[in-house]
Subunit: 768 residues, 2 copies
């Protein structure tokens, strides 16, 4: 058991390392040559440019003004100073609402901490249960529920506190949900004209032997939304083209690198090997080779581009359909189009930046099967991920290495190295897996067929959260792998499970306090240092950058990373809620995390991150739902714990808590969630009417025409003229309104075939 | 244990009683004076009238043609003869699809029975496990899985059969879902013009200090659906009025009864007591009293009607909004109107007959709370209903009666009466409860706030099904009350539960066979006899009927009763699926049930039942879902059973079955359910266009004006002129389109206040 002394030492180490990170950051950020690492957001906004070329050479790279070092924590008040509306304007609503999650943590846990310390800690402390018993205990346990004798009436305090904390958390959650919903509606209402307001993504366009996809789409919407349809843009399968463009870009980078190398040392031309990773194969002149490669790729790209534009097979059965009014788009996105519910599926188009292009053409049946496969795969990943890792670990022991690679034996036998390997190696496989986990989860989400990057991130986040609960939270409380837990739980009675876990909870408080200090204090402080982007920027800057534009590209502002960041915060919510009643001493540590993380991420959002997309806080229902689930988990575990304390009367009294919490969740879901999923017609109509009054002569068609063209057709870096391509694409993709293409095809088509022209005529005639 | 002989006896008794019912029916239905009991549907359709007055007096009441008695089972082929399209035309889609549930049972279980008897029965039979063992067994068990030795390889047969049966059932279910969805779409597409196609129910209209509900609704829809809004009809709280009208009707009946009595025996005027149920109180002249009562009620009704029409408080914040096109209504029903998702809630209006008027004004928050309350109440009803019944039973024993009512002692002490009471009394409380259960469940659903009768019936049906599973199925398998089961299960490991139940299943086969014969054979045969409507009709006919119109009203055709009938069928699906692999001998009994019930209900639907409403088979997703849940239950129980049979290898092999079944369900849900919940725009547009071409001058407004007026304002039986009332109502409820009512109210309203008139103007100007 960790004593208070151990805890103090651990705290000291972690606070010290956090301070080291902060000081290092304070120094590094003041150096002009790091400016683009620590303030990329301002560069992207065009509000900051490279340090002036004038002045001494040294001052262009190092800040020699000693006074600026004195104010090394100045960034903190700076970060807090920007008011929220300005922050929304500066970084988008997603980022501003993301910060509110940390604030929400503070709002919930500051009063909870105060009350817990004024009421629960004295109630726990003034007992002598642990002192009298023989068990090994730490000082921290004296402040926890463990110190209360079995069957004591004092457990009523904990029961009442559990109710109080639940009501407080629900109250704050409700307030926050209402606030975020209002912010979202206000944000959407005050937004400028954006293509996605007018556009709907249509999937599963049925094939028609008689018409192209583009014609089918146009005729369908001309018939069924005659007053609102404006234009559409079919989706091309440009995945191969995108791959080629990416390859060309990489070669271009290498060419730049070799040219720069040659320019610096003109005595010899740089050479390279053509084989795998440049490690084997023929040795050739690098500049010539890369130039040839680029030429080859340029030709291939041109061919592929022609093919994509002209080959009807590369047109996928999906389209972005734009409407004349927001009202029309809102109607189309929310209604069912065809009597076959798997055809003509409509949904709001994500904004162009947010579209995940490769998934646009997955058919309906395939999506169901993919969901099933990924569901099963995720189950196995969560509960059985230890099996392959244990296998790798069994391979990576010293005896095995000595056996397979005898020449390493003398080296390994050195005592220091041996103990290092023995201590380090078994963990490395697990560590690598945990680092790769978000990527694995993201690949799973991509395979599942989500259509927007924000959707992918939300799904990955919820999976990551479940993985954390099972393997980090439960895994730490009950020793053993998740699979062993599962096996144990299956053979246990349903109401034994919360007991088993609940009993272990107070004992693990010190472990989680250490965890919070390492991951939540030092980890967050390390975040602000941006070590990886710092190194990469300087490497790129040295090897690749020739022009100012190259330098702009070398800058990697990164983004918030909802899929990894949000589950981390949620884990602290879970810890706080679980330990609030049981071991209140843990709460201040969580408060420090929330406070520090809020400041750090506010700084990063203002100065660094550049969001890839704007979903207008569409993630909030997920955040809310996960906090609710943490509350229910904490309540069940508290019930389990209490039932072992012979507090017979207060335990059934707790039963109502999860029921009330879940009802509260359902209420919030009904009350606020539609604001995050659907677009109210009233709002749409209001914006339409205002716009029509302000700009009666707006050419909306021109505005929307090219909004949803695959990014490879827009990529600016190419030799070919961009506009020319878009024009070509239009020429193929768009059809004239009159069905002249039908002249040579007398067979009536299935969908909008023989009946649709007459319907169209009828509509024209029938309208009063 | 029941032997084959016992079973045979039981079968003989039940078949005999079923035959007695059928013969009695055959005789009774041929008597002309029963004509209105057994063929009311044809009377309602106007295709049949009372037996001609001509002819002998006797033949008007009794059928003397002996030949017609010979063909006493002729109604069966007659019932099967009507083809399905004609049936849909004759009785509606709901009834036709309801019959398909029985057909579905036959489609699933006929091949399953054949395969089970050719493969499973020989596999089970050719063992001697039970013969060798000491346990008491019946001959039926020799054909069941119990006869297979532990750990035998023969269990593979059962595993493979479980897969085969699951795939077959899924295949048939999918076919049926597709077929019903097609039928529904075809039915909706070929329907005549109906008010509900154009109408949307709007709930939670926000209060406006400045405008009446009617004005608020009109202005909101004129702004937000300018091209489609036609008219609307606010909802009045006429519950009290409806009650008064009902009371008056009852008094009228009594008056008729006394007048008829007086007419037959003019020697003395009939007398009645005014007190409770006519048992106590003052004795008065009955005819005078009833006439006075009716006069008083007529006056009260007139006053209340005035009040409802003129008092703004009786207008509820809900309205039926009608649109110019089906397209407009489909759009409005499927979209969100306001940015506050709890205001302006829209949903398809049920057809006028299907609306459940009293629930139209329950606000959003109240609905959530009501759901929660009913959820908890239903839980207690299911698991604790035995507690009050046991209490009543404890009161109703002989000693208690003798103690409380000593004067009854001599009577009770008679041996025959004593044993009768002892055998009968304890059961009577339970029996009364079970008879009342559907009513209790319906009251619960009404309290929950559903807005249509079909919705109420669907919810009651699903509750009844759950109650049946817990208390009839599990309660019969495991002795003891549901509460004892619950307690046992909570203290048991999660995977012990299927084992406990699974092991008991083969032992209960004989019990369920008897159950099927009593409830499914004799019960269904009794259904066709319509004993209760028969008696009530003749009583009414004798005491009340004066005119032909009265006789029409005395006729009670009844309706299908989805809320009790469907759970009964589902229970047979559950039994069949559970026992298909375990004890295949049960299957033929189920086949007889499905076959007999199909014929009987087909006959009833053709000749008797008159559906109250038409929901176009909206219940099918529920039916499908419950069969799927029965499949999953059967699979889990089979796994539990197999795991006790030491068939270690085949048990995990079964694990995939529930996963596959649930995935199949999710697939079907996504593929077909939207066809039952939403109205595709393509269909709406097609019908609109056709109609506009056919009837360009249709006055839709006049057609829709009075479609959704509360039935008490339409009731034909009143002295006041109906049209006059409707006119009055319109005058109050409808407002002129121009906002002249705002002249004296300068305060801007919250919802469509200051901004809306200008918006309206803008829209008019801004339109190109």
């Amino acid at each position: 058991m960790a004593t208070l002394g151990d805890m103090g030492l651990s705290a000291a180490i972690n606070i010290l390392s956090a301070l080291v990170f902060l000081v290092a950051f304070a120094i590094l950020r003041l150096q002009p040559f790091n400016d683009r690492v620590y303030f990329p957001k301002w560069y992207l906004k065009g509000l900051r440019s490279s340090p002036t070329r004038s002045g001494a050479f040294v001052t262009r790279f190092v800040n020699l003004d000693w006074r600026s070092y004195l104010r090394f924590l100045n960034w903190m008040p700076d970060a807090l100073r920007m008011p929220e509306p300005e922050l929304i304007d500066h970084a988008g609503l997603d980022s501003a609402v993301y910060l509110r999650i940390y604030l929400l943590g503070l709002k919930i846990f500051v009063p909870v901490t105060l009350i817990a310390w004024t009421i629960l800690v004295p109630v726990n402390w003034t007992n002598h249960t642990l002192a009298k018993s023989d068990v090994n205990y730490s000082e921290i346990d004296l402040l926890s529920i463990s110190n209360i004798p079995l069957g004591s009436q004092r457990f009523w305090t904990h029961t009442v506190m559990a109710y109080a904390f639940t009501f407080w958390a629900c109250y704050i959650l409700q307030q926050e949900y209402a606030k975020v919903a209002r912010m979202r509606l206000h944000f959407i209402a005050s937004e400028k004209r954006r293509p996605d307001q007018f556009t709907v993504l249509v999937k599963n366009v049925p094939p028609d032997p008689d018409e192209s996809i583009s014609e089918t789409v146009e005729h369908f919407f001309l018939v069924n939304h005659p007053d609102h349809y404006l234009t559409h843009q079919v989706v091309c399968n440009a995945n191969k083209l995108a791959k080629l463009v990416k390859e060309k870009k990489r070669n271009q980078n290498w060419l730049d690198y070799y040219q720069l190398k040659y320019a610096r040392n003109q005595s010899q031309r740089p050479m390279m090997k053509t084989g795998f990773l440049g490690l084997c194969g023929e040795k050739v002149d690098a500049i010539d080779h890369q130039t040839a490669e680029i030429e080859r790729l340029s030709k291939e790209i041109a061919e592929e581009r022609e093919r994509v534009i002209n080959d009807p097979k590369s047109i996928m059965p999906a389209a972005f359909v734009s409407f004349k009014t927001r009202w029309g788009a809102a109607v189309c996105a929310q209604t069912q189009q065809s009597s076959n519910p798997t055809l003509w599926l409509t949904e709001w188009a994500s904004e162009p930046r947010d579209v995940y292009w490769p998934n646009l053409a997955i058919p309906y049946v395939s999506v169901s099967i993919r969901r099933l496969i990924i569901g099963v795969a995720f189950f196995f990943l969560t509960f059985f991920f230890m099996i392959p890792i244990a296998f790798v670990q069994s391979l990576a022991n010293i005896e095995y290495i000595e056996q397979k690679a005898p020449f390493l034996k003398p080296l390994i036998e050195i005592k220091f190295i041996k103990s290092f390997i023995q201590g380090f190696l078994p963990g490395i496989a697990l560590k690598i897996f945990l680092i790769l986990l978000p990527t694995i989860l993201m690949i799973m989400s991509k395979f599942e067929g989500f259509l927007s990057i924000s959707g992918l991130e939300r799904r990955s986040a919820s999976r990551y959260y479940i993985f954390n609960i099972v393997n980090v939270f439960l895994g730490s409380i009950i020793a053993g792998t998740a699979f062993q837990q599962l096996n144990k739980f299956i053979h246990q009675s349903a109401n034994e499970i919360p007991k088993t876990i609940g009993v272990a909870i107070p004992m693990k408080a010190t472990f989680f306090i250490t965890y919070i200090m390492v991951d939540g204090w030092a980890g967050i402080a390390a975040e602000i240092l941006r070590l990886k982007p710092l190194i990469i920027f300087h490497l790129k800057n040295f090897f690749l950058v020739k022009t100012e534009k190259d330098r702009d590209e070398a800058m990697d502002p990164g983004s918030l990373g909802f899929d990894t960041g949000e589950p981390q915060i949620q884990f602290y919510f879970l810890l706080g809620l679980v330990y609030a009643v049981v071991t209140p001493i843990l709460l201040p540590f969580i408060l420090v995390f929330f406070g520090l993380a809020y400041v750090v991420f506010r700084h990063q959002i203002i100065n660094v991150y550049n969001q890839e997309y704007e979903s207008a806080a569409a993630f909030w229902p997920d955040v809310h739902g996960r906090i609710i689930s943490a509350m229910v988990i904490s309540q069940l575990l508290l019930m389990g714990l209490m039932s072992t304390k012979h507090a017979a009367l207060s335990t059934p009294f707790l039963l109502a808590l999860p029921i009330l919490t879940i009802s509260f969740h359902l209420y919030c879901k009904g009350r606020y969630e539609p604001a995050f999923r659907r677009y109210p017609l009233q709002e749409a109509m209001m914006k339409d009417t205002l716009e029509r009054a302000k700009e009666p002569n707006l050419n909306l068609k021109a505005y929307l025409q090219n909004a949803y063209i695959h990014p490879v057709f827009k990529g600016g870096d190419d030799d070919e003229d961009e506009e020319e391509i878009i024009e070509k694409l239009e020429a193929t993709v768009l059809v004239p309104t009159k069905r002249q293409s039908r002249r040579n095809t007398p067979v009536p088509s299935k969908v909008s075939g023989d009946s649709s022209p007459s319907l169209l005529d009828l509509q024209e005639k029938g309208r009063p």
